[in-house]
């Protein structure tokens, strides 16, 4: 399994969140709670689909339940490694 660089993952996650939420990347801090960024349930489905596409991973419901902040999304992806990015 490919090892991921945390900084690179953080950049990509923030970009995908910004794209999903139609916001500037600068508004997406690592400490920000997804809920506070306005990630509604449909946005979360979009985000998960995009993350799976970008990082070649499949996120299960229990994985998704643990994603509360932007940083937690990054940590999850770094810990699990990439299944083969498909961006």
């Amino acid at each position: 399994m490919e090892t991921l660089d945390r900084e690179e993952v953080a950049i990509r996650v923030r970009e995908l969140l910004a794209e999903t939420l139609h916001r500037d990347v600068g508004e997406i801090g690592l400490d920000a709670r997804l809920e506070d960024l306005g990630v509604a349930s449909i946005d979360l489905i979009t985000l998960v689909f995009e993350l799976e596409d970008a990082f070649g991973r499949t996120l299960e419901d229990e994985d998704i339940a643990g994603l509360t902040t932007v940083g937690s999304v990054v940590d999850f992806l770094v810990a699990g490694g990439a299944g083969g990015a498909r961006d």
């Binding site: 794209e19 139609h22 306005g38 489905i45 979009t46 689909f49 498909r86």
Partner: protein, 440 residues
């Protein structure tokens, strides 16, 4: 009611000017079907009309949003964007957080969407289905040596698209226009197979006339391709598609004695802007043409076969003429349904020859584009409007020996018509006819 703008996505162009130029040249795009279609099905027909590179960047759709819209919906948005621009209407951002837009100066509550489609989001449904059926076999095949070619052939989507329902539902394309453009009046979908686009325009015309809205974004969209040619096989299986010994670009020949079925198109779409004529003039809009009347009937006969006596086609024409206040002799040009199937063209030509004077000019836009199903009526209404505007009509391609002696257009010719009809007849028996007038 005035037509003040139009947009198109077709195999002959993805903007109205280029499309119309190619129509007047008698252009067509005919290619061999994708090899995989022929490998997976015993097919009679081996030709189709692909759209080519039809997508373009637009602020209306982000990269992520495109993945959540069926190609038919994306076609609709592109055509609508062009139509509004040509109508002299400006889009402005309404909510950047949703990438939502509105038409400047237009009350969204008084603006509606009327869109036709034959198969809705069939493409997306097939993609989801292929993933579900083949994801497990894929995993098994990946464990085996030498399965790369098989896996490539299966073209299995990477993942199940969680937006598959919203992409498949027939009203998705109309809804996408409503949502993106802030059109909060009536939002209706017309599923009348090959007559869908004509029905949508006719019903938009009626809604405007009844005061239900002040502006309508209306037309038809379709996308019929998938990696295995499922829609193609369905039509091929009932012998509806052009096939035979003639060269590929001569197989599609509506109204000709040697016609042998219709040319399957990958799809496309046309969207038109309809508004009250006086209101359009007050805001200084160019009027492309006017819609004067609409007639609609059903054969009540058969799902796939046209009623051979054509009684309900004649009645749809009579209703349309009456609605428009026209006599048959007033009609200088008819954009025929003209698919190129032996039975349909025969019935249509006989009805036209019985109703209209000998000098009424007739052509088939499907002789150029092939059949775009639910989009065809809207594209043909656009062609009818352009014919009236410019006083010139495109040729009916490959029409060398007409079976019924109508005044067919064999070349691009001047047509001095003040009034014209565009007619569509569908699987299911729906018949729809629009009457248009040249802008005064």
């Amino acid at each position: 009611m005035a037509l003040t703008g139009a947009g198109v996505v077709s195999s002959l162009g993805t903007d109205v000017d280029g499309f119309w130029r190619r129509c007047l040249e008698g252009g067509t795009v005919v290619e061999e079907i994708p090899a995989a279609w022929a490998r997976h099905s015993p097919l009679r027909s081996r030709v189709w009309s692909p759209l080519g590179a039809w997508e373009r960047e637009t602020p209306l759709m982000t990269r992520i949003e495109k993945k959540q819209l069926d190609p038919a919906s994306r076609i609709g948005l592109l055509a609508a964007e062009e139509a509004l621009r040509r109508a002299g209407l400006t889009l402005e951002s309404a909510d950047p957080r949703r990438n939502a837009w509105r038409i400047a100066g237009v009350d969204g509550d008084r603006a509606g969407v009327f869109l036709g489609t034959g198969v809705g989001g069939l493409h997306s449904c097939l993609e989801s289905s292929r993933f579900i059926v083949l994801d497990q076999p894929r995993r098994a095949l990946q464990e085996l040596e030498g399965t790369g070619a098989v896996l490539a052939e299966l073209a299995i989507p990477r993942a199940f698209n969680p937006f598959s329902v919203a992409m498949t539902m027939p009203n998705a394309s109309a809804a996408a226009l409503s949502i993106k453009l802030g059109l909060s009046g009536p939002c209706r979908t017309f599923a009348g197979a090959c007559a869908s686009g004509t029905m949508a325009l006719g019903q938009a015309f009626r809604a405007l006339r009844q005061g239900e809205c002040d502006l309508a974004v209306a037309g038809g969209v379709e996308f019929l391709s998938d990696p295995f040619g499922c829609a193609f096989r369905g039509f091929d299986a009932v012998g509806a598609l052009a096939a035979g010994p003639l060269p590929p670009d001569q197989l599609n020949r509506p109204f000709d004695r040697e016609r042998c079925g219709f040319l399957f198109s990958e799809g496309g779409g046309a969207v038109l802007v309809l508004e009250d004529l006086e209101a359009a003039r007050r805001r200084g809009a160019d009027v492309l043409a006017e819609i004067l009347g609409y007639g609609e009937t059903a054969d009540a006969h058969h799902l796939m076969a046209m009623a051979p006596e054509g009684r309900q086609i004649r009645r749809a024409l009579d209703l349309c003429l009456a609605d428009a206040g026209l006599a048959p002799a007033d009609v200088g040009y008819v954009n025929a349904h003209g698919t190129g199937t032996p039975a349909n063209d025969d019935v249509e030509a006989r009805v036209l020859s019985e109703l209209f004077p000998r000098e009424t000019r007739v052509n088939s836009t499907k002789s150029l584009l092939g059949h775009t199903l639910g989009a065809s009526g809207a594209i043909e209404a656009l062609v009818t409007a352009l014919t009236l505007r410019d006083g010139v009509a495109h040729p009916s391609r490959n029409l060398s020996d007409p079976e019924v002696p109508l005044a067919f257009l064999r070349a691009a010719e001047p047509v001095a018509a003040r009034y014209a009809l565009s007619e569509s007849f569908a699987f299911g028996g729906q018949n729809a006819v629009l009457a248009l007038a040249a802008s005064r």
